[in-house]
Point group: C2
Chain length 346, copies 2
C-alpha cells in the first residue's frame, strides 16, 4: 500500500509498505478515504521540531473499517468512521473526565500514518466515531466537514470549551489558521454573539466572517490589545481562544480578557516559561491543551455536521492526491492553502 | 480614635488619629466591632514586601454604619455590616462578571485602616454587605464567623470556585493556614466528597478534619504528589485549591490533578515565572487571584453562616484587644495563632 513518509525536513515521499493487519484485540484496520495535513505537521516539516526520519506521517482521516480485533464490537468491517488522532481508551481517569486527548493508555508514537491507504488504529473500540451510512452517501463538501472532526474542528472546539464561552459572550479568537477559523465556528456554537477574529490575511478574514466573526482585528501585540479594548469600551472580552502558541499571541491573549476571563489555548506553546502574575492579578484563567476529539465528536460536532449547522470543511482550500503528498505540504508551508486536503480513495 | 499603624517591619503601634468623616458621596463611615490580622499582612510585617512606613493597616472587619454619603441608600446609620476588602463598585465589567476583587473603580491604597475604631469605606453603596439585626443579636462564635466573610472565608471560597469543584469531586487543598482551612469548608460547600488536606501541623490537621477534610497528607513536594496519586489509584484529583503561593506549592498543585483538573489559586504568587508546558500537556487549568468578596457573601456565604452550616470563625485561635495589636501580629508571625482576632468594640 502507499504511505506518506517523512524523509527529512522539506521532504515527504510516498513509500510502498505492507498493508497493516490487526495485531492487538483492540485494533481496527481502516481503509482511508480522505486525510489532510495539520499545521502542527509543519513543525517537523520545517525542521523546527525533531522527528525521526523515515517515519509514516499524518494524524487526521476518515475511512472505512476493513477488519477489527476480537475485543472490538462497537464497529464492524464496512462501517464508515472518523479516525480521531486522540485515540482514547474510554476508561482511564482522563477519558472518563472528558479529556481523551490526554488518555493515559495511549502513547504518542501511535498517532502516525493516517496519510496512507490503510491504517492500524489502536483503542478502536472507544475512540473511533461511527458515521451513519457510507462515504458515497455524502457530498464532497460533507466529506470535508466530516474529515475536520478527526482533529482541527475538535481542536477549535476545545479552545472554546476550555475558554468557557457562554451564550452572549464577547470573544477574541487569536489565530486565523485552520484551527483558529474552527475556533470561530466553535465560539458561535457556544453561543457567543460577538466574535473578534485576529487576522491579517484577506482570504482568512473572509472565511472568519463566513464562520461567524463579527469583527476583525489586523493589528498585533499592544496595538491589538488597544483595538480590542476600544471595541469593548475598555472592558476586555469574556473569553479568549488562543490558537497560535507563539509568545506574542499568548501574551496578547492574556491581556485582552476582562477580569475572570479564561484563555482557552490549543496552540502548542512555543515558549515554556511565562509570567503568570498578570493572570493572578486580573483573575485571568489559563486552560487548554490537546483536544478530546472523540468526546466532542460524539457530544456535539458530528451532529452539527450531519445537520449542516457548521461547515468547517471550508478550511480545505486546496486538494491533492496521496501521490502528490509533497505538494500538499508545500502548499501549507508556502501559505498557499489554509489547509491541504488529501484524497486517498473514493 | 485609635488606629493600628505600621511603623516599620516588626512594629505595629496604636496611634490616636482624627475620626474619619464622609468625603465622597459614595463613602460610609463605620464603627468597627471586630477586625483581624491576615496572613498576607505578614509579608510587610516581616519586611518581605515593601509597604510605606507609618501607614494604617488591616483590611478585614465587621462594624456598624455611623454615617453615609449622599449617594448611599443601600445602608443607613445603625446598620450592621461586613466590610469586604474588595470594595467593588458593582457596575464595572469586573464587578458585573462576578469578579469584584478586580473592580476597575478602586485603588489598592483604599484597602487600609480596618484595624481601627472607625473606617471610611469607599464604594459603600454596592460593596458593603448588610447583616440582619445588631451585633448584640449574635453569639461570640457567630460574630467570628461573620468576620471571616470580610476576606478569609471568601478567599477560600474563591479557590474552590475557580478550581470549579463539583459535587462528588475529589479535591486537594494546598495550605493549612486560615485560607486553606476555609478552602476545605468551601470545597465541602461545592459538594466535594473527598477532600485531601495538605498539612503538617497537628492542630491544623484537626481543624481541617472538623471542616470536612477526609484525608491528610503531611508530605511535601514529590512525596506529596506520590501520596496523592496513591490515594487516587494513580488518577490524580478533580480539582486543586492552591492557598499558599510558594513555588513548591504551585508546582505540587499542578502535578496532583488529573487531566482537565483546574488549579484554583489564591496564594499570592511568590514567583512570577512558571513553566506552563506541564499545564498544556496535561490540560491542567490555572485560575484564580483576588476573591470577589461581596459577590460570594451575597450569593452563598452570609446565608451559610446565618444558617449555621459553616463555622469558619474557628480559624481565630487567639484574641486580642485593639490596644494589643502588636501581640496579634506576633502571635501569627510566631505561628502561635492560626489567625488573630482583634476585638475593637462590643
Amino acid at each position: 500500500m502507499k504511505t506518506a513518509v517523512f524523509e527529512e525536513p522539506g521532504k515527504v515521499r510516498i513509500y510502498e509498505l505492507d498493508k497493516p493487519v490487526v495485531k492487538n484485540p483492540t485494533d481496527a484496520v481502516l481503509r482511508i478515504v480522505r486525510a489532510c495535513v495539520c499545521g502542527s505537521d509543519l513543525w517537523w516539516y520545517r525542521g523546527i521540531s525533531n522527528r525521526d526520519h523515515n517515519t509514516p506521517v499524518g494524524h487526521e482521516a476518515i475511512g472505512v473499517v476493513e477488519s477489527v480485533g476480537s475485543e472490538v464490537t462497537s464497529v464492524k468491517p464496512g462501517d464508515f468512521v472518523i479516525a480521531p488522532f486522540s485515540h482514547g481508551c474510554g476508561h482511564c481517569a482522563a477519558c472518563l473526565a472528558g479529556f481523551d486527548g490526554d488518555c493515559t493508555n495511549r502513547t504518542d508514537t501511535e498517532v502516525v500514518g493516517y496519510q496512507s491507504e490503510y491504517l492500524r488504529f489502536k483503542n478502536a473500540q472507544w475512540a473511533l466515531v461511527k458515521i451513519p451510512g457510507q462515504p458515497s452517501d455524502y457530498t464532497d463538501e460533507q466529506l470535508n466537514d466530516l474529515l475536520t472532526l478527526a482533529d482541527v474542528m475538535a481542536t477549535g472546539y476545545h479552545a472554546a470549551h476550555m475558554a468557557e464561552v457562554k451564550p452572549n459572550d464577547t470573544v477574541v479568537v487569536m489565530g486565523d489558521g485552520a484551527v483558529g477559523l474552527c475556533g470561530v465556528i466553535a465560539a458561535r456554537l457556544h453561543g457567543a454573539t460577538r466574535i473578534i477574529a485576529m487576522s491579517r490575511h484577506e482570504d482568512r478574514q473572509k472565511l472568519a466572517r463566513e464562520f461567524g466573526a463579527t469583527d476583525i482585528v489586523a493589528e498585533r501585540g499592544d496595538e491589538a490589545v488597544a483595538k480590542v479594548m476600544d471595541l469593548t469600551n475598555g472592558a476586555g472580552v469574556d473569553a479568549v481562544l488562543e490558537c497560535v502558541g507563539t509568545e506574542q499571541s499568548v501574551d496578547t491573549a492574556v491581556k485582552v480578557g476582562r477580569p475572570g476571563a479564561v484563555v482557552g489555548r490549543v496552540g502548542v506553546p512555543q515558549k515554556s516559561d511565562m509570567n503568570t502574575n498578570q493572570l493572578f492579578w486580573h483573575n485571568i484563567g489559563l486552560r487548554g491543551g490537546i483536544a478530546a476529539v472523540t468526546t466532542y465528536d460524539r457530544e456535539v460536532l458530528l451532529d452539527a455536521v450531519l445537520k449542516g449547522d457548521i461547515h468547517p470543511g471550508k478550511v480545505f482550500t486546496k486538494r491533492f492526491s496521496l501521490d502528490d503528498i509533497q505538494s500538499a505540504y508545500e502548499a501549507m508551508d508556502h501559505r498557499e492553502a489554509i489547509k491541504s486536503l488529501v484524497i486517498v480513495s473514493e
